[in-house]
């Protein structure tokens, strides 16, 4: 009797590993982020996503019909409508926090799909127009799909670029998120952190 209850418990624990696999990804993206300054204003954040082979080939097969290897203007438009615009329902997997406060997502601009070495690449930008003062400003960026259909590769410091920061002192790092998890064991993606000050 003692023994069989132990067997039952052991069987229960056999389930625990599957707990770790609560949601599972189908699409994989490595992202690259560029931050552009204009004088003392953080003008825009440009995002570039490179997709995994399987998703790339599916989308390329669907939309790259005319001149193989690149999208024509019309193809890019069709692709935007069919395989990008719906991301507005997912906040384009982006969240910006300025000094701890979540920002309403600025509109998406300059969306452009390309093909690089057989991989599908999406690039687009967001105008932040954030003035940088003598006081230290902290911008945190999260790139994450909380339905986990899409898994983003872990961001490295090398994936972040800063352009024309002549009038601003800016420091980049990858840090643990400050957002609290809703349940224990929940995956919380790291954030890109920029600390900026006018020179």
């Amino acid at each position: 009797m003692r023994c069989s209850s132990r067997i039952a418990l052991a069987a229960l624990f056999a389930f625990v590993p599957t707990l770790c696999a609560y949601a599972h990804p189908h699409v994989f993206i490595s992202s690259h982020v560029a931050v552009d300054f204009e004088g003392t204003v953080l003008a825009r954040v440009s995002v570039e996503w490179t997709f995994d082979e399987l998703f790339s080939q599916m989308i390329i097969a669907d939309y790259d019909k005319v001149s193989k290897g690149s999208f024509t203007e019309a193809e890019a438009m069709a692709l935007k409508k069919g395989a990008f615009d719906n991301l507005k329902n997912y906040h384009y997997f982006l969240a910006f926090f300025i000094d701890g406060k979540k920002l309403t997502l600025p509109p998406i601009r300059d969306f452009r799909p390309t093909i690089m070495d057989g991989r599908l690449v999406y690039s687009f930008s967001l105008s932040l127009e954030l003035p940088i003062t003598a006081k230290l400003t902290e911008l945190r960026i999260t790139i994450y799909d909380d339905t986990y259909y899409v898994a983003f590769d872990k961001t490295n410091q090398n994936d972040i670029e800063i352009h024309s920061a002549d009038a601003v002192a800016a420091e980049v790092s990858i840090e643990k998120t400050k957002v609290k998890p809703e349940w224990p064991g929940q995956f919380m993606p790291d954030q890109i952190v920029l600390r900026m000050k006018r020179k």
């Binding site: 997912y90 986990y148 064991g185």
Partner: protein
């Protein structure tokens, strides 16, 4: 058996069921890129574990597409064999995520009286249904509909998924009614009006066993929704003109998924068996009550799961 340990056993049974339910309450989310409408209301955030698994899945996904190209360019069987092996591994790992019939199979086996071999049969029936369904949907979209595949696939999946959830709700409802009414013997015709006293003779009789028809029903309902990964690999093979590689890949992915589902089903059967055994060796009044609790809970979760997802699909 002392009264005290019966209570402990009931608690254990309740915990087991709760753990099962919480663990698998999830469904396949829509593709955020190619679907329309917002995210699935039933999708859950990822755990730390899957984030560890993600690079493995990513490596497999990239390798599958690469191998499909190699199959076309090479005359040797090497790439095809590797494609088969990686597809199998992809199926096993991938099916650990939500969807893929795990909630359905585990609650089904809690509610049914089944032997371990039944979970094997269920796993392979699901694999068969999945492979046939994924191939049929992809080939239809590719050759007959000929529209934008990625969008067409999302719409087709959604319809199939809605039908599958509806079927699961119906199966769950039928099982729930049967368990509540105490129908235990499939070979006892006209027993719909079961009286308590008629059960007194059956105490030690063999309880009814799951039939092939029931296993096929549950396999059809849960296996019919095509996995987006499996479908993408068929499509890639089609556009590379190596359909055979696509068929091999999807069959192996399905077998891998079937293996995972078999393990889940077996575990549900073992949990139930362990709980029943622990309550006075599976016999006597205590065990009968525990059995009923487990079976009614299993059928209830199956019904609630199917119904809630069916409704979530419609709104």
């Amino acid at each position: 058996m002392s009264r005290h340990s019966t209570v402990a056993m009931r608690r254990l049974a309740a915990t087991a069921i709760l753990v099962l339910c919480v663990m698998y309450a999830g469904a396949e989310s829509p593709n955020p890129f190619t679907s329309s409408g917002g995210p699935s209301r039933m999708s859950a955030p990822a755990s730390g574990g899957i984030a560890v698994l993600a690079p493995v899945l990513r490596a497999m996904t990239d390798r599958l597409a690469e191998l499909a190209r190699q199959v076309r360019e090479s005359n040797s069987p090497g790439p095809m064999l590797t494609l088969a092996l990686i597809s199998l591994a992809y199926g096993i790992f991938h099916a650990l995520g939500p969807g893929h019939g795990k909630t359905i199979v585990s609650t089904f086996f809690l509610a049914e009286e089944a032997k371990l071999r039944h979970s094997l049969i269920a796993g392979y029936l699901i694999a068969l249904v999945h492979a046939v369904s994924a191939l049929a949907i992809v080939l239809t979209l590719f050759f007959i509909v000929q529209g934008v595949f990625s969008t067409g696939f999302e719409s087709a999946s959604r319809i199939v998924q809605t039908l599958s959830f509806g079927a699961i709700a119906v199966i769950g409802a039928v099982m729930l009614v049967q368990r509540i009414r105490g129908v235990e013997h499939s070979h006892a015709p006209g027993k719909g009006h079961t009286h308590d006293h008629s059960h007194a003779d059956d105490q030690d009789g063999e309880p009814r066993q799951v039939t092939f028809k029931e296993l096929f029903g549950i396999a059809l309902a849960s296996g019919v929704v095509p996995c987006p990964g499996a479908s993408a690999i068929i499509l890639v093979c089609l556009s590379l003109n190596v359909l055979l590689a696509g068929i091999v890949a999807v069959v192996m992915i399905s077998i891998g998924m079937g293996m995972t589902v078999t393990v889940i089903g077996s575990t549900a059967i073992l949990v139930k068996r362990g709980v029943l055994k622990a309550s006075s060796g599976g016999h006597g009044g205590g065990a009968r009550i525990v059995r009923r609790i487990v079976e009614i809970a299993g059928a209830s979760v199956l019904f609630a799961f199917g119904l809630s997802l069916f409704v979530a699909q419609l709104i």
